[in-house]
Amino acid sequence: MSLRARNKIRAPRRGMTGSKTNDFETSWAELSTSLKKIHTKDASALSFEEIYRKSYNIVLGMRGTELYERIQQLEREWLDTEVHKLVTGAISPSLLLAKQLVDAQDQANERRDAGERFLAVLKEAWEDHQLCMKMITDVLMYMDRVMSTDHRKPSIYVASMALFRDHVLRAPIRPDTTTSVYDVLESTVLFMLQLERSGHIIDRPLIRHCVYMLEGLYETITEEESSKLYLTVFEPAFLEASKKFYQAEGRRLLETGDAATFCKVATERLSEETERCIDTLSSLSKTKIKDVLDNELIKNNIAEVVNLEGTGVRTMLDNDRIDNLRSVYVLSARVDSKKTPLTTAVQRRIVEMGKEINASAIASQVSTSAAGKKPEPGEKKPAEKPVNQQTVAAIKWVDDILRLKQKFDNIWENAFESDQVLQSAITSSFSEFINFSQGGDSRSSEYLSLFFDENLKKGIKGKTDAEIDILLDNGITLLRYIKDKDMFEAYYKKHLSRRLLMKRSVSMDAERQMISKMKMEVGNQFTQRLESMFKDMTISEDLTSSYKEHMRQSSDPDQKRIELDINVLTSTMWPMEIMSNARNDEVQLPPILPKEVDSVKQSFEQFYLGKHNGRKLSWQASMGTADIRATFQRANGKVQRHELNVSTYAMIILLLFNDVPTGESLTYTEIQERTRIPDHDLIRNLQSLAVAPKTRVLKKDPMSKDVKPTDKFVFNNEFQSPFMKVRIGVVSGSANKVENQDQRKETEKKMSEERGASIEAAIVRIMKQRKTLIHSQLMTEVLSQLSARFVPDVNMIKKRIESLIDREYLERVEEDPPTYGYVA
């Protein structure tokens, strides 16, 4: 209790706060003198506390609002008289000249000097004002606090900044004009920038400071970001001026007509403007000025630049100007995510170049086939070369395309920053010209298959695994572009079967690698048959060795046996033309084999059928080869031996002569009767035996290049060869090469049959799942299902649907829209 009595609250001592300075006018007089001293930079003698206490007392004396007004008044007067005079004094007449008059160099220099002087003075005035106001605000902190909370007035600092804006910047430079200080400032700064853009050096920090000033001033006292003077007044003017400048610049650069220069300048301008925003102006404008550049300089001109004659993208592509292309790309990418002009130009050029390659391949074909057609069709010998040339042309075609592809890959990677849009554009262009066909006659699949054939036969000899890998990968890339993959499969199968059966493949590893690559690229279904071809080959090897073993055990070891290498092929997996004996629908009887051979054949059949019950073996003599030892009785009594490697048919023919006395002849008809070899094959084999100069084991009478039914053949004991082993190839037919027109038609016919079946299968698959479907939907589904293999012809699909309806797999459910139903 007693404690409370002692702790009586002491009243604030009045005398300490207000008694001495209760007179407002006196205090104000002292205050205003102090404030003026601050403005004249004479503050170090002033006591902060004293001024603060005075304003504190005034505010406590309820005269705060009045003090606030007085200070504003004081500032206004100061700015109007001292600062304004200072600033306008620095404006020299040359700054007021209209812009158009400053073209002359000396005038420009003069204006620049004057401008720099003016800007320096203005900057100085601004910075002084800022500093002084900061001090004044600090000193009047108490007043500010009370005014902004109690009376919702802006801080004295903000208010005085607005005063600076109105009484210095926006004041007319002379009472009789409307041109304000700001106008002069704006035109001066823009003029400076113009100078810099045309290559002069200007005082960047000075301009930067003036821009700071504009950034520090606001339109409103609430000082929102967006109401900065810089943003409201200066920036639009700056952007407008830039726009005009870059429009002119764009025109000027286009007139010089060099795309590379354009890109170089544009790129430089871009970085220059960015730098300018950082160093000279405000980074607030960075994106805006870039937009101006993008729109005015790049977007409006890029299409023209890309297509400039002689220097545009086309020339850059042709000359591999990676750097230039990169800058074109970068610029295009800025303004358009699709980069339309660039993409179109690149695509156009690819298709152009691709068509050139196509044309040169076709041209070489036409010229050779024209040359090859002139001699009689029977004369096969001269026709041999052009055919090879065609193959060469096909391989050249693939190589050319690969080179082109590599070129564009390189450009894409290095110049186009591996851009997705451009990649798909390039891909589609390649696919366009590769699948482009004159009159539906696209040979890409065949060419590509030939390319693989050639490489797997010869090309990869002496190459490392890595090189082979690259080579095959390249081929696979092209395969990706080919739309009719079934066509390619057919050709590849054909070529592969020849390689396998004739043992022409250099490396089985490479073959397998190739298959697995195709599997990855196109899918399992695609390579299924190719793989089973390989499987057949392996099984056959085992079969051969086990047959040999079987024979060794079962028969008399002394007996001279004929060695047999057998390939048992699954008929559905191998290309049809090899399998079928039927030519033109007429059944061909198997050839009559010499009895030695026939016995071997029978023993194998026994052996095989004993192992696999219920299978049917049909012998394909046309694909086989035989090694025979031939003895040539020379006229001088000497005996010359050669080992001949001949086709099975040739072996049959030659063995006939075993039974013919020396010197006697057989006619063509006799040979045919005794062997039943098909005409076509017989002629070819006789040609290689009797006509080919190096392998003339038979003599023909009369000696001519054609084989006629009346010709006589006699065994040539005078056969000469420098080698012990002689390989007698069959004229044409054995090598893989470009097909002639007839073969082509046949392939296409087969192709379309096969496609028909695929289409039907697809239709049935879809309908089984969907039960009923509208025609157009069915079409799209079929197209999408089959697109991996080939691009089906719409008419063909329609026909197939009709045929399925006829065969009652489908039915028409409705007419409008046409709808089909699945008949279970």
């Binding site: 002491r10 300490m16 503050a43 506390e49 004293e50 603060y52 001090m135 600090d138 000193v139 902190m141």
Partner: protein
């Protein structure tokens, strides 16, 4: 331990409030307030003739209206907005030049409490559980006035 000639009523020992006995002579007494760390420079090396060092010095002198001087670390004094602005080096007022602030309308007894608060504030700056500061009720109003004046 504590010289309490200013206010005999206040006898609470405070660990962070160490007036130096040898310097305590009223009314031109200089009190040395130590924050959480001991002073590396003795306060008497400051002098008005050396403004450059004083403006950067770690200690400032607060003078009450009745002539008591309090030397406290600059950082603690800057808790007050008014004092902070007063001492700001960029505004070349006499206070910032000399490092000496004369606070005419605050009495020594109040200023002592103010300085105590500055130190208290500095000491408990980043702590969650802060002990209450002892405010003698009779000083309440004057302290409020001072707080308003000093913007603290």
């Amino acid at each position: 331990m504590i010289i309490t000639h200013l206010s005999p009523a206040r006898l609470v020992p405070l660990p962070y409030f160490h007036p130096i006995p040898s310097l305590s002579f009223a009314p031109s007494t200089t009190y040395l307030f130590i924050g959480t760390s001991p002073p590396p420079t003795p306060p008497h090396t400051m002098s008005a003739s050396d403004p450059s060092s004083s403006s950067q010095s770690e200690y400032v002198t607060l003078v009450s209206g009745d002539g008591f001087e309090f030397v406290i670390p600059r950082s603690t004094a800057c808790v007050s907005g008014t004092i902070r602005r007063m001492l700001e080096p960029s505004s070349r007022f006499s206070e910032s030049v000399t490092g000496r602030c004369v606070l005419e309308n605050i009495s020594g007894i109040v200023l002592e409490k103010v300085c105590e608060y500055f130190c208290y504030n500095e000491k408990n700056k980043n702590q969650t559980y802060v002990p209450d500061m002892d405010i003698p009720p009779e000083l309440c109003l004057e302290l409020l006035m001072a707080a308003d004046y000093l913007d603290a």
